[in-house]
Structures are given as structure tokens and as C-alpha cells.
């Protein structure tokens, strides 16, 4: 710990970090792990390989993945608009973007379900013109998750875009690059690590989201039932073991996926000389 002499305050801050991680993250999560020890391996495998459970995992992770991807594109464009242009009502725009952070997610879910249901304003339009039904289908989950996760992408990309040196773009243009080449070869690679962070946050939020989804998903087993709902259902039936097993699996998969994204990010930043 020789660093502590160069940068003072190492001991108290690492101590605080460890206490925080211990109290707020590790202890509750390890309780989950200990609870699951009550199960035998056979029980565990039996619960997890249940067809309804597997379907819900597929629904949860695939819709979170799709939603995070779409939110990344929309969020990037939104951040671009907010940083690059000045226009009337920009501040209102800023406030609107943060709204999903503050809004109770159940409210969001109810509102989305209302307009996207087959008789709703947007739902009717989509159903009549394209024959697509959004609410009470897996697509409804994706819509709800996009709504919830866009601010994560906007707020992670925005500061990096703000800091981006305009002279790098000018240098690219002076060397003969077109606008598109400047964007794909200079701007995007510099923003990509931040976008990846935004994606990871959006994805993590999407996997764990409960409130907004249950109102719009329809919650049909095997089709549009998400993992968090299944856990709640099991708890309501006093099936503590089942809920624990599913929760633990969810925890492990989420952790592995986030770890993977972090490694990918490390690799991208290393490759682009930012480390």
C-alpha cells in the first residue's frame, strides 16, 4: 500500500468502499446464496429446467437485450442532438429525458399499456395499418424497457460527446474525409466505450425491471412472462425455494453478462489507446 503516501486518504476511502459494498451489496446477495443452500442440486436443476422458468429467462434476457440495443441507438441520437445543436426548448428536452428516472415505473407501465392496447391510440394505429399488436405481447415488454432505459444511454454518452474535441473532426475533414467518414472513423470510435457503458446500464436495468413491464406484458406464461414476475408469483405461493433458485440463477447470469460487457469495454479502450 505504498500508494497511500502519494495520494492520501487511501485507507479511509477503501474502508468506506468495502463497508458499503459489504452492507448494501454483498450481505443481502450472499443471504440469497445461503438460502439456496437449503436446496439439493437435484431440486435446483428441477426448478430451473422447468419449461415455464426457462421461457421466462428467454423472455427477460432477449427483451432486455433488444431494448438496450434500440435504446442505445435512440439514446445516442438524442445525446447528439442535445450536445450538437441549440434550439428553442432545449431545457425542457433535458427535463423530459430524465423523467423516466423519476416516474414510478408502474405509472409508466399503465400509461404505455393504455396507448398501446389494441383499442388505444397508438395500438389501434399499429394494428390497423401494420397488423402489429404491441401490448400484451413480448414486444410490449421491449417498448416498456426502451422507455425505462433511454435516459441511461443519453446521460452516459452526453458528457463524452460534450468533451469531444471539435478540432479532431476538422482535422479529419481537412484530410479529405467526408462527413460520413468523419463520423464513422473519428467520432463514433471515440464515443463507443461510453455507448457500451450506456448499453450495459440499460441492459441491467431492463433485466431487473418489474413495475412497468407487468402492466403491458400481458404476463402470459411461456410467452410474455418475465423472470421477476415469476419470482413474485412463486413467493405468493410460499414457494420460497423456487423463488430463491430462480433469483440466484438470474444473479449469476446478470453478473456474468455485465462482466463480459466490462471486459469488452476494456478491450475496446485498450485497442483505441485510451488506456
Amino acid at each position: 500500500m505504498s500508494q497511500s503516501s502519494v495520494m492520501p486518504g487511501f485507507r479511509p476511502t477503501i474502508g468506506f468502499t468495502l463497508i458499503y459494498l459489504g452492507l448494501v451489496v454483498l450481505i443481502p446477495l450472499s443471504t440469497l446464496v445461503f438460502k439456496s443452500f437449503a436446496l439439493t442440486l437435484d431440486d435446483y436443476v428441477h426448478i430451473i429446467t422447468n419449461k415455464r422458468v426457462l421461457s421466462s429467462f428467454r423472455v427477460s434476457f432477449s427483451s432486455a437485450l433488444i431494448a438496450a440495443s434500440i435504446a442505445s441507438v435512440f439514446g445516442f441520437i438524442t445525446a447528439w442532438v442535445l450536445v450538437r445543436y441549440s434550439f428553442l426548448g432545449k431545457n425542457i428536452f433535458h427535463a423530459l429525458i430524465d423523467l423516466p428516472f423519476a416516474l414510478p415505473t408502474a405509472v409508466a407501465g399503465i400509461v404505455l399499456a393504455t396507448i398501446f392496447q389494441p383499442s388505444g391510440f397508438l395500438g389501434k394505429l399499429l394494428l390497423d395499418t401494420f397488423g402489429i399488436q404491441v401490448a400484451f405481447k413480448p414486444m410490449g415488454i421491449v417498448v416498456a424497457l426502451i422507455f425505462i432505459s433511454i435516459p441511461f444511454v443519453v446521460r452516459t454518452v452526453e458528457p463524452v460527446l460534450l468533451e469531444f474535441e471539435a478540432s479532431m473532426e476538422e482535422a479529419g475533414a481537412s484530410l479529405g474525409a467526408t462527413r460520413l467518414q468523419v463520423f464513422t472513423k473519428i467520432i463514433f470510435p471515440n464515443i463507443f466505450p461510453a455507448l457500451l457503458t450506456g448499453f450495459a446500464l440499460a441492459f441491467a436495468r431492463g433485466v431487473g425491471e418489474y413495475g412497468s413491464v407487468i402492466f403491458i406484458a400481458g404476463n402470459i406464461p411461456y410467452i410474455s412472462e418475465i423472470v421477476p414476475l415469476l419470482i413474485v408469483t412463486k413467493l405468493e405461493q410460499f414457494d420460497i425455494e423456487g423463488a430463491t433458485a430462480i433469483a440466484l440463477t438470474m444473479l449469476v447470469i446478470s453478473f456474468l453478462l455485465l462482466l463480459l460487457i466490462n471486459l469488452l469495454q476494456l478491450w475496446v479502450r485498450k485497442r483505441s489507446g485510451q488506456l
Binding site: E170, A171, A173, S174, L175, G176, A177, S272, G273
Partner: protein, 348 residues
């Protein structure tokens, strides 16, 4: 390639950055745009590059009107003040960028690009760094890479914005010499912006002095130094002592051997090295008192206090003497001295 500017004007809101600029840069010259900060020199450079639009006037490069052409089609090389290297690319890829973004039909082959980039990196003596990222380089190295990158597209003109501004003094000195030599080697028409008159005089073959969005004077360094067009240029280029006849300096200057000016000219600018110091022997009318001196290497800068004949003024006059001359005089602080002024520039 030659560069011609006709009647360029540019306003930023109510602020007029450039005022009816006409400038002719002959082929192969290395021109310095020199002026105090805010004089419009960087704006002018960016207008030539196409990074900024002019409100009025034409930009003509090699006989072709480029006023409305986008920067990416102008065929210029631009070196930015803070280098603007692509952080996410290696040094090699930075230099190769201009070649890689060419349309497929005129893009050189990969082997050709590799060869060319290495040749350029050798030109700037940094080939051994080709695998590094910009963040791992020193300021001077980054500047040279930025130059190699600009040269890769074989620009018809090279534009440099304060190329040495962010470097420390010793690196700056080396790079100036290096840029001059490189220019001799490549002979590409180049314009660089600087606020440092010493740098402009040392590097450029032509100096353009700008102030308040206007060109005050254009000429070779010796023309600018020996025949400043006006008081601003005279004061901006090198050290100068200012005497004002209205402030009762007339008698003093006459005693110092300076001829009276032409009709109407009242301000005399005297270079420090045009003042000859003689030890006062008779003490009858000593012109100045020695206050202090500083060593500037080969020269000594001497600060004198003017003894006005009416005994009022205590303004300082600066003179410069070679080291050995100063030793010969054997002066001490507080000594009375007589002065001879060799020549002055007179202004209204």
C-alpha cells in the same frame, strides 16, 4: 502553389474580426501571420483552409477560386494548435488517415500506403514511434506527427495554427529550425500563425503583421525590422524606445545627436542597439543615469534613466551593448553617461 486573398471581411456578431484583407502569397514561400491575440490571424488562416466562411471576398489558391469549396476538397494541409491527433488511432494510422479516406478509385494500395507513411514518419524522424498512441507522445513529437499527417495527402498549401504555441522553450527552438529546413526540402507554400515576433522573424521568409483585423505591413523580416511601416509594427517587432516631441523630448534627442524630423512627425522610435553609450567625463550635461543591467547572453541590456534637461522626467531608456563593449566601459549603477543615437524611425 500561390495563395491570393481578395477583400476578405469577417464579422462575429458586432465584432469585426477581419477588415478588407488583401494578401498575395507567392509559390514556395514560408509566410508568418503575426499579430497580437485577437487580431484575426487565426480566423484568416481558417478562412484560407475553409474551416470558416468569409462574409465577403474571395480565396484563390493556384488560380482557382476556392471560396465556396468545402475544406475536404481544398487540398490543404492543416496543422492544429493542439495537434488534434486522432486519439483512438496509432501514430501510423493517424498519418495514413488521409490516404485511407480517399475514394476507392484513387486510393493507393495498402503496400503503397504503408511505404508512404513510413517515408513520412522518417521525414519527421519518428518512425520508431509508429505503434504508439498520441497520448503516449510528448508535445514536440505530437506536433511532428500532426505535420506528417497533413503532408500525407500532398497538400498544395500547408497551414499551421500556432505550431509551436503549446511547446516549451527549448523544444520550440529546435522545431523552428527543423520546420525551416523541412520547408526548404519540400518547398510547399506554407502559412503559419504566431503571436511571437521572434518566431516569425526566425522562421518565415515573409512576415505579415496583422492588427485589429487589418494588415499593417507585409515584407521580408529585414524589411519589417528595418523599415516598419507604422508605429504599431515598430513597437510590435523587437524592442523599441519611444520618444514623443510633444513631451519635451526634443532638446534631449537633439543633444543625443538625432536629427530633427521631417515636418509633422513627432514620435521617434529608437532600437536599443542604436543607442551608443559613452562614459560622461566633463559631467556638464549628462543625458542619462545608469540604473541597472541584465545579461542576455551575448548582449547586455542596460536600463538608463533619462535626465531631462528641465529635470522633470524619470522615464527609462533601454540600450543594448555587446558584452565586451560593456566591460570596456566599466560602468557602475548610478554612473552618469552620455548617449549618441545612431538612427530612429519617425512616425506621426
Amino acid at each position: 502553389m500561390s495563395i491570393s486573398l481578395f477583400d476578405i471581411s469577417k464579422n462575429f456578431g458586432a465584432f469585426s474580426a477581419l477588415n478588407h484583407i488583401n494578401l498575395e502569397v507567392p509559390e514556395g514561400e514560408l509566410v508568418a501571420l503575426l499579430g497580437p491575440s485577437g487580431c484575426g490571424k487565426t480566423t484568416l488562416l481558417r478562412i484560407i483552409a475553409g474551416l470558416e466562411h468569409t462574409d465577403k471576398g474571395r480565396v484563390v489558391i493556384n488560380g482557382q477560386d476556392k471560396t465556396d469549396q468545402n475544406v475536404s476538397h481544398r487540398g490543404i494541409g492543416f496543422v492544429f494548435q493542439h495537434y488534434a491527433l486522432f486519439r483512438h488511432m496509432t501514430v501510423f494510422e493517424n498519418v495514413a488517415f488521409g490516404l485511407r479516406v480517399k475514394p476507392r478509385s484513387i486510393r493507393p494500395s495498402n503496400e503503397l500506403i504503408t511505404k508512404k507513411v513510413h517515408a513520412l514518419l522518417e521525414l519527421v524522424q519518428l518512425d520508431w514511434l509508429h505503434n504508439r498512441y498520441p497520448d503516449q507522445l510528448s508535445g514536440g513529437q505530437r506536433q511532428r506527427i500532426a505535420l506528417a499527417r497533413a503532408l500525407a495527402v500532398e497538400p498544395s498549401v500547408l497551414l499551421l495554427d500556432e505550431p509551436f504555441g503549446a511547446l516549451d522553450a527549448s523544444v520550440r527552438k529546435d522545431l523552428r529550425q527543423w520546420l525551416r529546413n523541412l520547408h526548404h526540402e519540400l518547398n510547399v507554400t506554407s502559412i503559419f500563425v504566431t503571436h511571437d515576433q521572434e518566431e516569425a522573424m526566425e522562421v518565415a521568409s515573409q512576415v505579415v503583421v496583422l492588427n485589429h483585423g487589418r494588415i499593417e505591413q507585409q515584407g521580408t523580416p529585414s524589411q519589417i525590422y528595418d523599415h516598419p511601416a507604422n508605429a504599431f509594427v515598430s513597437r510590435f517587432i523587437g524592442q523599441t524606445n519611444v520618444f514623443d516631441l510633444d513631451e519635451h523630448d526634443a532638446d534631449w534627442l537633439q543633444t543625443a545627436g538625432l536629427l530633427t524630423p521631417k515636418q509633422g512627425e513627432k514620435i521617434a522610435h529608437v532600437r536599443p542597439h542604436d543607442i551608443i553609450i559613452e562614459k560622461s567625463i566633463d559631467n556638464a550635461t549628462p543625458l542619462a543615469t545608469l540604473k541597472d543591467w541584465q545579461h542576455l547572453g551575448a548582449l547586455i541590456r542596460i536600463e538608463l534613466v533619462k535626465n531631462n534637461l528641465n529635470g522633470l522626467s524619470d522615464a527609462s531608456v533601454f540600450a543594448e551593448l555587446p558584452n565586451d563593449k560593456f566591460k570596456e566601459l566599466d560602468l557602475a549603477r548610478g554612473d552618469k553617461v552620455n548617449l549618441k543615437i545612431r538612427q530612429a524611425h519617425w512616425f506621426h
